[in-house]
Symmetry: none
Subunit: 224 residues, 2 copies
DNA sequence: AGCCAGCGTAAAGAACACGTAAAAACAAGC
DNA sequence: GCTTGTTTTTACGTGTTCTTTACGCTGGCT
């Protein structure tokens, strides 16, 4: 199921999109302004964002910037302006697509499909395996030597973030903001606690980890 | 350098795009029809495709399908038709973006940037190699003879700055302000300490560096 | 030749980051 | 309202990194 965050200040349009997109199989998260949009994007798993540029509380470009600060989620911009300049600004701010009003529903649906196809193509990797354990991303399950291992929600979030970026160094800040939220960006101690728990559950020798590595002062890295 | 495959049957437009895109730093591979376009895409490394739908030899949708059969390269469609139906068809066939004529050059450039940004984020792995070591910018990892080398945060910052500007002379002030902050612009001794550490880790003979060079009185330079 | 500013190297204490265990606070289900 | 599982605190020992100090070397200049 694809979840769409729809941001529009006009209640009728918001409602119309909600109904129509839902009818076509999408889960819709509505947001009437930029603040709630950014909040919703942080608390829920959003697959694609549909954003009207004309918002009451903040500039649409700020919303794009606020999202692009931490996520690669596709953003489709809606706007009444046909001006070339507006398009350029929105796309350069980080938007993926630009649709001018009035637009047909089928066009929006096609652009949604294009956006999710793109992002889906890069992230669809159901299973990640190591010598010691296997992570099933799709089913949110972890096996060690074939036996299922229980994970708490927080443990899973941390593990998933690392495993989805094999080999890449992930900074503490990035983990904290993605798992706990931006307000927790400095609670680096949480990470030590949870990394220890993950290692206790997944590493042969938790004191000498092979797959969940620490790079002192820099962050953590998952080595396949 | 980004390479763009431009497919258009009108020689003037093809030529105009070629000149303008080249002026903005793109390498342009021109193709007047679908057959040459598909052939060119197979033989050369293409980063993004700009495709006019009205081609003499085959339907534009066939070209999209022909490309999508084996590559994920971003495709931007140009078309004179404003009809919603055409857009839907092109996007569903696998195009990434749809621009209706007439369009401004700055809009096309913005869409090109958006397309390459997307694909560049997922596929391109910025790696810098020398005879002695390899620096993986994306994963923040350094290898020497295939073996990973640990870097402290400060060591990495200095190395990254130099490696991202291969061959260029970087002044001491520039390194100090970028890594330690403007207040440290005169702590040139820090640099000597860290350059020594980097050379000890990465150079065959740290006393006679080959890649991390000192330009006395001026700054430092990374030679690939 | 001798001076000296800039550079390279080594080593040590201070400051900071990390790992671990266990207790306290919190939430959800029955 | 109790139980159970999870998250957040607290405490402390260890390890790593940064900064500072000390000293030797080089190459240009007088």
């Amino acid at each position: 199921m694809t979840t769409v965050l729809v941001v529009d200040d006009e209640p009728q349009i918001l409602r119309a999109l909600q109904i129509n997109l839902h009818a076509h199989g999408y889960t819709v998260v509505p947001a009437p302004n930029g603040t709630t949009a950014l909040a919703a994007a942080q608390t829920q798993a959003i697959d694609v964002v549909v954003l009207d540029l004309g918002l009451p509380d903040m500039d649409g470009l700020e919303v794009i910037a606020g999202l692009r600060g931490w996520t690669e989620v596709p953003i489709i911009v809606l706007s009444a302006r046909h001006g070339s300049h507006d398009k350029v600004e929105a796309l350069d701010a980080g938007a993926d697509d630009y649709v001018t009003k009035p637009f047909g529903l089928d066009e929006l649906l096609a652009r949604l499909r294009a956006a999710t196809r793109r992002s889906g193509a890069q992230t669809e990797e159901p299973r990640v395996e190591t010598a010691e354990f296997t992570v099933d991303l799709a089913n949110k399950q972890v096996f060690r030597h074939g036996e299922p291992v229980r994970m708490t929600p927080t443990e899973w979030s941390v593990l998933e973030l690392l495993v989805r970026n094999p080999g890449r160094l992930i900074s503490q800040q990035q983990i904290l903001t993605e798992v706990w939220g931006p307000a927790y960006a400095k609670e680096t101690h949480y990470l030590r606690v949870y990394m220890a728990q993950l290692r206790r559950k997944l590493e042969r020798d938790p004191a000498a980890p092979v797959h969940l590595l620490t790079e002192a002062g820099m962050g953590y890295r998952f080595a396949p």
